[in-house]
Symmetry: C2
Subunit: 355 residues, 2 copies
DNA sequence: TTGTAGGCGTTATCAA
DNA sequence: TTGATAACGCCTACAA
């Protein structure tokens, strides 16, 4: 039998340290929390005791004692799409659980693809009222500046879903979108019938870094491995189902022999409508993004053939963990925070509850 | 801005309840924990106060106060395979984290496919020393009886990876293996070249319920959707790479024109060796199970085409959460505990750290 | 520069 | 059947 915990003996506490170091509880606490007013020789002794005993602080007890409350705020794009709705749900759900762990969550919708609006909201945010922000939005200089500013005022910042690498954001929570695009390409290549094929790519906006990266990855794989497949220019649906639905007829007039569609952004409702109304359903291989009630239904009925997805629950939970760690300047457990690129076929779709 | 937490006001505590109900802390605690010695009229009043205030107990504080320690034990099959090794790792890793949350984890290897050994170990387990067991093993009457017995003695039981539905186990942590097999079938069908194909299925043991279910699901999909594909009888590798490697030549002599292999169990090392040494690499479509260093490498080099997997980290964490909930007779958050059927292509493989 | 004492929310012991 | 009261491990006035 392999025991994996620390040796059965109970873990040392601040009291043990105080005793061993020959100082009081208060002094131990000062050293533990890097507070001033302790002679370096004393600090030395306390540290040695900590080392010797292998002490590790009990965070739960610490939080209980200090009554600390974390306040995190999410900024999400204001577009009618199920993916964002799912993020909202996850935030609401998680916050119910977290309210018993001294963590408060809130979110706010920001006009989509509108860097100015985002920058303004960020700039106006009160560092006294928020410990961390998660941003799902476009990457532009104004947003970048706003982030750098709010960071200086002590607010932790996480980029969500779409990275903002040019900014000082503390972390990015989301998938590798190039790899996601490559995965879509691989599936598309295998699912298309043999012979020559033409594939239409639907994107959201050139401002959205995630969309750009997906297209890039998709093209890479098709070029590398499927020389019979031609990828057509993107059509830009702005994550808007209606706009998308109105654009599709034009694309099919231009190229009637489309055999595959890579829907790399949101707005699947428009695509599904179009396909079904024009009887293109089942005739075209479709690879989409994000498992939602709609896309799930499309998969179920073979309107979609595969879906690339990211778990919204995991996204939100990971964001909170990261924001907490950053707020306490604690290290992050990278492997745990890595968001997977999920692949769903009809066969392995999880049940409806959305996970 | 949407605030999702409980209204900013702090949450009520036992003190508030005591005050409102007009009783002492101790009485509140008795009611809260269903302890005897309280008049039903008093219980009534306390319950009303709890309701009115919307009280929810602070688990961290409760655990702190009672100094409760959870001891969970994992029984894993003793076979040299990376999947089990990964489970062991995850147990070890998680227990480092959990040692600061009053939870001790241990594991033990049980001779594989040996119901007697498993039953014996279970029967000998001391309920004084363990609060819960997780069992990854075969489903037989003897094991079932041993489980029912130990459950009666107050130990919580979770079936891990392979379900034991005939027993009184509290819960099953793992994937839907029929769906996993179906997913493998779907991928196999699409990845095989067009025209007639013969697919070999490698299984572990007829005693392993997970293996049986995968084969079942695989056959279903092939029959339903790919009529040009013929599925050959299983070969039984007992999760042993060497045994498997020694069996493969025979299978290929019997049926030289095999174009696909579904490796539904462990022992991939043997399969990979065989394929590479016989230059069958890249000529045969291979769908395997479990992302491990070996299978990852095979995917990387196109020896394998797709892998169906389950996250060992998630399996272990979920098991612990469930075991904890069961030990405290608390409800389980089903959606959170659902284990996904992961699909990996070369393109969406997560980085090496094993998540 | 250091220590004492009280409190965070819950549980548990003992006496009333 | 109930209620004080002292833990649990940590933090934080305030005092020395």
């Amino acid at each position: 039998m392999v025991k994996t915990g620390r040796d059965a003996g109970l873990k040392p506490t601040v009291n043990d340290i105080a005793r061993v170091a020959g100082v009081s509880l208060a002094t131990v606490d000062r050293v533990l929390n890097d507070r001033p007013g302790v002679r370096s020789i004393t600090i030395e002794r306390v540290h040695r005791a900590i080392q010797d005993l292998g002490y590790v602080r009990d965070t739960a007890a610490a939080n209980l004692a200090r009554g600390r409350v974390y306040r995190f705020h999410f900024l999400l794009p204001e577009s009618e799409n199920e993916f964002v709705a799912s993020l909202e749900n996850q935030i609401t759900e998680l916050s119910k659980v977290l309210s018993f762990e001294r963590t408060q969550l809130s979110f706010e919708l920001v006009p989509a693809f509108d860097p100015q609006a985002m920058a303004q909201i960020l700039t106006r945010m009160d560092p006294e009222e928020v410990d961390g922000v998660a941003i799902f939005g476009p990457e532009t200089p104004s947003v970048r500046d706003a982030i750098d500013q709010i960071k200086k005022r002590g607010v932790s910042v996480v980029a969500l879903v779409s990275d903002l690498p040019s900014s000082e954001r503390d972390y990015f929570v989301g998938i590798d979108n190039i790899a996601a695009g490559r995965t879509a390409g691989q599936l598309m290549g295998h699912f298309l019938p043999s012979g020559p094929n033409k594939v239409l790519v639907i994107t959201g906006s050139m401002l959205a870094r995630d969309h750009l990266e997906r297209r890039l990855g998709f093209d890479q794989v098709i070029t590398e491995s499927f020389d019979q497949v031609e990828v057509l220019p993107s059509i830009e649906g702005r994550d808007d189902p209606d706009l998308l639905e109105s654009l599709l007829p034009g694309a099919f007039e231009m190229t009637p022999d489309i055999t595959g569609i890579y829907s790399s952004a949101a707005g699947n409702a428009g695509l599904i409508n179009f396909l079904r109304q024009n009887n293109l359903d089942h005739k075209i291989i479709v690879v989409g993004h994000e498992l939602t009630p709609l896309s799930r239904n499309a998969l179920e009925h073979d309107t979609f053939n595969a879906i690339i997805s990211q778990d919204t629950g995991h996204l939100i939970r990971s964001t909170v963990r990261v924001l907490r760690a950053k707020s306490d300047s604690l290290p992050i457990n990278l492997p745990q925070e890595r968001i997977r690129i999920d692949v769903y076929l009809k066969e392995n779709m999880p049940p409806i509850d959305g996970r």
